[in-house]
Amino acid sequence: MSAIVASPEGFDIPPDDRRLIRWTVYIGYFALFAGVAHGFAQAMSYAGIDILRFFPFLQGYYQGLTAHGVANALFFTFAFSNGFLPLLTSRALARRLHSGLLHGTLWTLVAANILVIFAVTTNRASVLYTSYAPLQAHWTYYLGLVLLVVSSYVAAAHLIVLLVGWKKEHRGERIPLLAFICVATYAMWILASLGVAVSFIGFLLPWSLGILERTDPLLNRTLFWFTGHAIVYVWLLPAYISWYALVPRQVGGKIVSDPLTRVVFVMFLLLSVPTGFHHQYTDPGIGTRMKAFHALLTFGVFYPSLATAFSVVASLEIGGRARGGRGVLGWIKRLPWGDPSVSAQLLAMFTFVFGGITGLINASYTMNQVVHNTAWIPGHFHMTVGSAVALTLMGVAYWLIPYLTGRKLWGRRVAVAQAWIYAVGVLIFARGMISGGLDGMPRRTFLAAAAYHKDSWALAGALTGIGGTLMTLGALLFFVVIVMTIWTGRRGEGPTDIPFAEALLPPTTSGWDTKLDRLGWWFVAAVVLVAIAYGPFFLQYLPPHLVSPGYRFF
């Protein structure tokens, strides 16, 4: 049996550091709140009901859709991870956080928020979160998103500083698992972010400032998706970290295998980035052979998720059986469903089964033509980022916020109900969107006001609206629980440590799995794979085709 942190007996995070981390993750949950309102309006629009005119502000559908995507997919996820991963790494290595780096992460995040909120609320940036040129946003929008990435770089640097410091004092020792998976996640992000960094700093920002007269829409789009597929794993892996390393403890189980967990994260580091063309199957200007190669690699990156499905469920089963569960499925009933942190994350895992299957269909090369840019796609990703991630991060909040504030969770039963309402809602919503998409319902479209309509969309639209309403209700209850915990939770009754589990199969000190710890090598290998997967396209395509001035059609 092996603990996955350096000092299992305890390591205290000082109150000042906790406060900085708290505010960083608060920004994330606030972004979730800010984005949910418009999510509701969009679900209702699919049901043919326009509630936007009752909104006090952000009355434009696409302005609201931009707010929804940017707030929920970008700010929520990154703000959370930028606080959560340094916290876990610090705990795992038993090393003090650097308050300068915590401040750096927080304040760049605040600046990013101010700029993007200004641009979006004043309708200067209704370009949707994908920011496809040549729709042109105000420079504050592009600069704000650059600062969001900078904030994540500061957090990534923080993880590396902690790891390098630890290694100096522990030569020849295995990296504690919890730290390893956190660092591997942000190492992947550093490589993945290269695409948007080049696109935003090299093209979109100077173009929006008038320094660059024209830009290259296909190149910007390709650079976006260079980052854009891997970014979904940056959203997902913090949830995986919780499922692998923390949830087993919360259910009384164990991590199945330390080496296999490392293998999974190394595979994500290697395979997350060279898959971006599967978002561009229907694009002109990219050869079909390159697309087929990315399809193959996308199937490859499905593999660590398959391994995760086995490992995580096995670790839950260990817990369920330790709690007296019998029979093939009887252990499921014995899991601590009354703990909202657990039930939210178990339900998140369940929705992810369907998220994963629909994702594999999206990646399926020619089959993608049936679903690309239809309502199927948001149906799919609300079962990945919209629930596997969002619901997991809500579940994490149920111990994390008490841990960071020292206050007892308020409204445990409300919290359990919240998770069920949200999960049932997302499944109904996705059922609507997926069936509508197969029936030709487009995504990213203000259907309540569209020039076209099909009678057969009625059921799909209604399910989308009903599911979206339940999701909104579930999310609002989450905020009630969190706000009440922060304001009225009983002081001094929060958890005193992070719930980390032990591994059934520990790491070795001389076996093959010690090679897994060479994150530098794996990073280089990932760079080589990316060069193979993207090199031929760039060699054939470059220099940039600067053909498009900016358009502000909003």
Binding site: P134, L135, P284, K291, A307, Y365, F554
Partner: protein, 155 residues
């Protein structure tokens, strides 16, 4: 340990499943002629309307049962916005945008292409049955995106 045997079996079956899916995809693409759009030429978006074939958008018969539909996309409409072909015909869609990114999607088919400034989009589809299909822009292109549509009528 039994858990490791289960794990090996699970991962083995999972890998086999992925291989089967990939073989099926390769089969549809190579043997059934289901293709994705690829590289079909570059074009200056500012000059689209004066460069053949986009100087004369519309449907042309290329041969028996073979048609070409040349479409120009501009916020927020397609030109032409109605395409008529007889049932059983094979139609090659050739499209370009003059301004922002648009989508060209014929509902109920796999005609599904992005139109990106600077590039020509092209794909072929065979309409076997008579009927009417919605033609919609399915990529956000500005405030009037949801009115950008038309129809394909198979007679």
């Amino acid at each position: 340990m039994r858990i490791e045997q289960y794990e090996k079996a699970f991962l083995g079956v999972g890998a086999a499943m992925l291989v089967v899916f990939l073989v099926a995809l390769a089969y549809t693409s190579i043997s059934m002629g289901v293709h994705l759009p690829g590289r079909a030429g570059e074009i200056d978006p500012a000059q689209v309307r004066s460069i053949p074939p986009f100087d004369e958008p519309g449907v042309r018969e290329l041969g028996p049962g073979r048609y070409e539909a040349v479409i120009v996309a501009q916020a927020w409409g397609f030109q032409p916005n109605e395409i008529r072909v007889p049932a059983g015909s094979e139609v090659t869609f050739i499209a370009a945008t003059v301004d922002v990114i648009h989508g060209l999607y014929v509902e109920g088919t796999r005609v599904n292409m992005m139109l990106i400034p600077g590039q020509v989009s092209r794909n072929t589809y065979r309409f076997d049955e008579a009927g009417e299909h919605l033609l919609a822009c399915h990529e956000y292109c500005g405030i009037g995106h949801h009115v950008m549509s038309g129809k394909v009528v198979v007679e």
